[in-house]
């Protein structure tokens, strides 16, 4: 047993070393992009999608829910930030965390839906997202800017918002990293695999899944707010676009739900492919992207990382 414990520590050291090394390298790279005149929009949205897919992973990959209305959190975050910043004059650095909390508040409002299973939860979530969008669309124009939307400031601040996006992405990744090794994370995975058996093992299922739900609501709301700040404008059409949910789900699944690295890798590859197809084959880009997704699901149903781990189980211990 002593020998096994020692090798266990070595495995953990290798796993952590690789993962934190990668995080550090990415951080340095991204942090240098504005200074070296890199492609700011590309990397901004890359970080945004990494964050979205990773936060989605908490409620989906870890806990087993499929919120088709995930965009509601993003939209609420975008509007909270815009209204606070523009209409109430709150500095954007304060508006953003408040926007994150607005997402958490919304998740609490929807907490009852966690009792639903599978497709019932998914559809209800979609319906609620549509309702949230309708409520915002029908609010007085003085508050939400009506069909023109709200512009936040006199001009956009792409570099500042880029760094805040970087910080938020790191926060999301560290949260998921912690979760993957924590006791709460283990409770969530048990709930995902069999919630009734988890209950029978003494796990307080409603409490654990509510925590996951709140965590995975915070980050998309932050993303919505930061993107509003980055583009300097918010309107219901883009802030509640169903494509945001679709992309989040596809990117996370492509990489592999339930692992820390999966959604990161999925978002990086898909955003890169999307960009590549868009530049090289502007007419065929959606077709090619669709084909890539179909191939992925056909040949790697558990996503890239998930399928590699299934093929070579030993990898599981070395990959986060």
């Amino acid at each position: 047993m002593a020998i096994s414990a020692a090798s266990e520590e070595r495995v953990a050291a290798i796993r952590n070393g690789m993962w934190y090394g990668l995080l550090l390298a990415l951080t340095v790279w991204f942090a240098l992009i504005p200074a070296f005149g890199g492609n700011l929009p590309f990397f901004f949205y890359l970080m945004l999608w990494v964050t979205m897919a990773s936060a989605f992973n908490i409620i989906s990959g870890f806990t087993g829910y499929m919120p088709f209305g995930y965009v509601a959190f993003y939209g609420i975050g975008a509007f909270t930030t815009a209204i606070l910043t523009k209409k109430l004059g709150v500095p954007v650095y304060f508006s953003l965390p408040i926007a994150g909390l607005a997402g958490v508040a919304l998740s609490l409002l929807f907490a009852k839906t966690l009792k639903l299973n599978g497709i019932y939860f998914a559809i209800t979530s979609l319906a609620l997202a549509i309702i949230v969008r309708l409520v915002i669309t029908n609010m007085p124009e003085e508050i939400t800017g009506g069909s023109f939307g709200i512009s936040l400031g006199s001009r956009a601040e792409p570099v500042k918002s880029f760094y805040v996006m970087l910080g938020t992405m790191l926060a999301a990744l560290l949260t998921v990293t912690w979760l993957a090794r924590s006791r709460l994370g283990m409770a969530l995975k048990a709930i995902r695999d069999d919630s009734e058996a988890a209950e029978a093992m003494g796990i307080n299922v409603p409490r654990a899944r509510l925590k996951a739900w709140m965590m995975s609501a915070f980050f998309p709301s932050m993303c919505g707010g930061i993107e509003a700040w980055y583009t300097n404008v918010v309107d219901t059409g883009t802030a509640f676009d169903v494509l945001i949910t679709a992309k989040t789900i596809i990117y996370a699944m492509a990489g592999g739900l339930g692992t820390v690295t999966g959604p990161v890798l999925g978002a990086v590859i898909m955003v890169w492919l999307d960009d590549l197809f868009w530049q090289r084959f502007p007419l065929l880009n959606l077709f090619l992207l669709g084909t890539a997704i179909v191939l992925l699901i056909q040949f790697m149903p558990r996503g890239i990382v998930g399928s590699l781990m299934q093929r070579w189980p030993k990898l599981r211990r070395y990959i986060m």
């Binding site: 047993m1 096994s4 283990m186 995975k189 695999d193 069999d194 058996a197 988890a198 029978a200 003494g202």
Partner: protein
């Protein structure tokens, strides 16, 4: 230890359990037998809180647990296995065991060491990093028992622990159950296979169509004409 009084459970028009009462004294094994569909699993599911009973009262160590949620009942010291194993498929065997001790104040390293020792005792140590879904049917039964051992409740409910398990694993299971009895655990054991039940039980309750048709020591039950008829009846039917 465990007391069931007047328990009933209906599914639509079907009465699966009908006004059933029995008691399991501390540190004993109660065997619950009956042909397939006689309501055994339903009784267990009502006790553990998976199903809500229609009437009746269940007490555990003197505390009323009738209307409690499944995890509350587990916290009161009741652990169980399932007829069809319900493992955490995409978690390692070690993690499967750790899910039962998430509230423990003990250190993670210590808990992992204990989990590995328990896996060793059911001969699953070599597979400890595998996922639940990679086990054979018999191994899944063993893992369910290991998970209950890690949970360490005073009252253990086992639903068909020997079904689909090969003879050598069966022997190992029986050994483990006897060891747990030695530690002072109390068991409610369900099986439609009589040999293992007769071997382990102190007392037996026989169910037929949700109703208790006989109760007594192993020898009484072996010679009970109603039990013989119920079982021979099915064998004739199966044949």
């Amino acid at each position: 230890m465990l007391k069931v009084e007047g328990l009933s459970k209906r599914f639509g028009g079907l009465v699966a359990v009908d006004d059933l009462s029995f008691e399991v004294p501390r540190k004993t094994v109660l065997g619950l037998i009956g042909i397939n569909g006689s309501g055994k699993s339903t009784v267990m599911n009502c006790i553990s809180g998976l199903y809500r009973s229609d009437s009746g009262r269940v007490t555990l160590g003197g505390k009323d647990i009738t209307r409690k949620t499944s995890h509350d009942i587990a916290r009161h010291g009741l652990g169980r296995t399932f007829q069809v194993p319900r493992l955490f498929h995409r978690m390692t065997l070690v993690e499967n065991l750790l899910t039962t001790v998430l509230d423990s104040r003990r250190k993670n390293a210590e808990l992992v060491e204990q989990a590995e020792a328990i896996l060793d005792s059911v001969e699953l140590h070599g597979l400890r990093h595998d996922h639940g879904e990679e086990l054979s049917g018999g191994q899944q039964k063993l893992l369910e028992l290991a998970r209950v051992m890690m949970f360490d409740p005073d009252m253990i409910l086992l639903d068909e622990p020997f079904a689909g398990v090969n003879p050598s694993l069966c022997r190992l299971l029986i050994e483990r159950i006897q060891a747990l009895l030695g530690e002072g655990k109390t068991f409610l054991l369900i099986s439609h296979d009589l040999t293992s039940i007769y071997r382990l039980s102190d007392h037996i309750v026989v169910l037929n169509q949700g109703r208790k048709i006989a109760e007594g020591g192993v020898e009484d039950i072996k010679n009970d004409p109603q039990v013989i008829e119920a079982y021979l009846g099915t064998e004739a039917y199966d044949g």
